[in-house]
């Protein structure tokens, strides 16, 4: 789809971070689906995988390509906690709040992250490095309390260990740039 076409669809031009390539991939994916409406959740998963989150314009794009009301797309996005409609940081920190983690001190771990990163639960640091979020049980109760850093699981996390984990990521990123 051309840039001007997209402007028609989305009504704005702030699309710098949302590359055309992703839209094409998404459109092709939608094209392969037989039962379009029933696959909305799968489509949203795919879109989030591509774009990192689901901004309004992506939601609109999906609605129009799938020929369903945008309100329905928004309704589904806002219903499920897995879907993000705000930009997320480079690293996603998910503190497991399952019961096993809770009784082994997950609340304190989350607080420590909040203190270390100076952000609240669900927020992203100003430098766009970290997004902090509590998550529902990820089923690794044997390692409780558990913190998920992107896809990497850290088990038996202690309050003192929080800074250590953060340092590790900060260092790696420093070298990366």
């Amino acid at each position: 789809m051309s840039q001007s076409e997209r402007q028609l669809v989305t009504g704005n031009t702030k699309t710098a971070d949302l590359s055309n390539e992703h839209y094409e991939t998404l459109e092709n994916y939608i094209g392969t689906l037989e039962d379009k409406e029933g696959s909305l959740i799968n489509v949203l998963h795919k879109a989030q995988e591509l774009f990192g989150y689901l901004p309004q314009e992506v939601q609109l794009f999906i609605a129009r390509k799938m020929d369903i009301p945008a309100a329905k797309v928004f309704g589904v996005v806002s219903f499920y906690s897995y879907f993000e409609s705000n930009p997320v940081g480079k690293h996603k920190i998910s503190v497991c709040m399952g019961t096993a983690c809770f009784v082994t001190g997950a609340e304190k771990i989350l607080e420590e992250f909040e203190k270390e990163l100076l952000i609240g639960n669900g927020e992203t640091t100003k430098d766009g490095m970290f997004t902090l979020k509590d998550v529902r049980c990820i089923g690794a109760c044997g390692l409780a309390p558990v913190v998920l850093f992107d896809d990497q699981i850290y088990g038996h996390v202690t309050v003192d260990g929080v800074r250590e984990i953060l340092e590790k990521y900060r260092k790696v990123d420093k070298y990366a740039y």
């Binding site: 029933g38 589904v76 897995y82 709040m97 109760c141 390692l143 409780a144 558990v146």
Partner: protein
């Protein structure tokens, strides 16, 4: 497989993988290459062994030696000592906490002794990514049997006679559920596997799908045949990437070998399975909400009746069964209804998998016959409480269940007995709590959960749980009054009676049950502004033990609000009026002199 004399089985469950199992597999393979044993010794990634607290777990076949807490650095020793020289590496063996003896066989361990594995039969035994290993353990034999020898009604009769009940929590008889769908009019029917394991602290469904995905596929095909469906859907949490991957691999293999697809086993029966992902909504475990979600909508429950067996997915008759329920089906077909109904109690047959977690020594998955007591599970299998603290309570049934105190530990567990003592079976999460757990805080935790997960459709759940949560929050912050307790007791039955679905109807349970068994704790919070367990920060005040304090000043330096007075080599004192109870002093003290409230 020619010439293979030994197998090294490495646990590939999420727990062990997170603890480095993949690295161990690579290291073992590299070491075997070095000694040129790679042709005669295989390294296999299996499903979950269940003993997650001791992971990563490695088992050597046929010697049947069980290694625990293995690291990748141990690979060389395992290969050089055990494989090459035939000498087990004793430092990696499990130490029995009672006798302090090293045990090398898993069946000697108290963790495994009282277990009886039906649903988990293949977990830790086979490579989940290899369909032929499943077939070697009588895989797909049950499907072949029913397709060639039994009518759908006969299959249902077997399941009914076996007495299998839904393992997702409700305990509805599976055979009856199938019969209702079969008898519903309509040519188009569906069977759905509920793998939306949302109960925090329960991970048995994940382990079954990761460790033995074919058993679920086979059982779904059997269920589809019995209920007259040709299409199956697995609705699985997006939070379980490994389970999704293994399930998809398994479905591909089953299609290739003709266990799924058209004319299965030349019977004319056609069946295929599609995987649909959830997106993080606990309420989608409720079957009507699940169906909404599978249809691509918000997962809001709808009123029953009509039940899904009459009008479910796309308005067609639909059966929804849980993963663990399915995993029980093939053995029942193969071994017979009498075998299955011979296990368990009068009204609850077979076994139940529990995810034992929390403040218990042996964290992991345990499968025990119905009728086993909680004491056996927590103290014999689970090894008791971590850190020699006291047992306070065990929570079953997740956010819908309640707490059970030591007075009821000898209750033989089944669906009814747990209900009678104010809890429920639920999906099998079992969280053990030590005496430092605040029960008001636990109730608040569960209410926070249900409140967060309430879909918002019906008022009692949306607003009722919010009000209950606020009251509990106030109590833990020291702002509670005696009236609040009365309000909780008044709200609870209203929400239970009026909520639309199971989530709301059971949401007040954790509050009611903690109020019943631990009313004194609530009263301490409300009347004396004191939290016995010391968990509620707003109520907690720290103090210093003058006997232990040596006056090192560490605590005073660490205190962010400077509320600790004292000079070098003098006993320090905390000013309770200024103390914000952050606990920094307790962590700073090297002499254990700071007394937690």
């Amino acid at each position: 497989m020619d010439g293979v004399r030994s197998h090294i089985m490495v646990c590939g469950g999420t727990g062990c993988i997170s603890a480095g199992a993949e690295d161990i597999i690579d290291a073992l393979k590299a070491e075997l290459d070095k000694v040129e044993y790679d042709q005669e010794v295989n390294v296999i990634r299996t499903g979950c062994f269940g003993f997650c607290g001791q992971g990563p777990v490695v088992k050597i076949h046929p010697d049947n030696v069980f290694y625990v807490k293995v690291k990748k650095e141990d690979a060389a020793e395992i290969v050089n000592e055990h494989i090459v020289k035939g000498r087990p590496v004793s430092r990696l063996l499990y130490t029995d906490p009672e006798s302090n003896k090293k045990l090398d066989k898993h069946h000697q361990m108290s963790f495994y002794q009282k277990q009886y594995r039906i649903a988990l039969r293949n977990c830790g035994l086979i490579n989940p990514d290899d369909v032929y290993e499943y077939i070697a353990f009588r895989g797909y034999e049950a499907l072949a049997t029913v397709l060639q020898e039994q009518t759908p009604l006969q299959v249902i009769e077997v399941i009914k006679k076996a007495g299998l009940r839904g393992r997702g929590g409700g305990g509805f008889p599976t055979g009856l559920k199938w019969e209702l769908t079969l008898k519903s009019p309509g040519a188009e029917k569906y069977i759905i596997c509920n793998a939306d394991e949302g109960d925090p602290g329960a991970f048995m469904d994940r382990s079954i799908l990761e460790g033995d995905p074919h058993s679920v596929i086979e059982a779904m095909a059997i269920g589809a045949y019995a209920t007259g469906s040709n299409k199956g859907i697995v609705y699985i949490r997006a939070e379980y990437p490994l389970a999704i991957k293994r399930l998809q691999t398994a479905i591909g293999q089953a299609r290739e070998l003709g266990f799924l697809g058209k004319d299965i086993f030349n019977s004319g029966f056609c069946f295929d399975i599609e995987v649909k992902l959830g997106a993080g909504a606990f309420v989608c475990g409720e079957e009507t909400a699940l169906i909404q979600s599978v249809e691509g909508s918000r997962g809001e429950p709808v009123r029953k009746p009509p039940f899904p067996s009459e009008s479910g997915y796309l308005g067609k008759p639909t059966t929804v069964n849980n993963v663990e329920t399915f995993a029980n089906i093939p053995p029942i077909i193969l071994k017979g209804a009498d075998w299955f109904s011979g296990i368990g109690t009068e009204n609850s047959k077979g076994t139940k998998v529990f995810a034992l977690a929390g403040n218990v020594k042996n964290v992991g998955l345990v499968e025990v016959p119905m009728g086993t007591t909680l004491r056996e599970i927590i103290f014999d299998i689970g090894g008791g409480i971590v850190g020699n603290k006291g047992f306070k309570a065990v929570q079953t049934g997740g956010p819908s269940g309640g707490v059970i105190t030591s007075a009821d530990l000898d209750t033989p567990i089944d669906y009814e007995s747990l209900k009678n003592i104010g809890s429920m079976m639920g999906s099998g999460g079992m969280i053990v709590m030590d005496d430092e757990t605040c029960m008001v805080n636990i109730a608040k935790f569960y209410l926070g959960f249900t409140q967060d997960e309430s879909c918002g459709k019906c008022t009692p759940c949306r607003i009722g749980t919010k009000r209950m949560y606020e009251i509990l929050d106030n109590i833990t912050k020291g702002k509670g009054t005696e009236e609040d307790l009365a309000h909780l007791e008044e709200l609870a039955p209203m929400i239970k009676d009026a909520a639309l679905c199971g989530l709301g109807q059971t949401a007040p349970n954790p509050v009611l049950s903690t109020l019943e068994y631990f009313r004194n704790e609530y009263e301490d919070h409300v009347l004396h502004k004191y939290c016995t367990a010391g968990e509620c920060k707003a109520l907690a005040k720290y103090s210093i033990d003058p006997e232990k304090c040596i006056g090192c000043t560490l605590c005073a330096k660490a205190c962010p609000v400077h509320c600790i007075q004292g000079a070098v080599k003098q006993i320090h004192v905390i000013d309770p009026a200024k103390c914000i109870s952050c606990g920094v002093c307790a962590r700073a003290c090297k002499f254990d002199a700071v007394i937690k409230p």
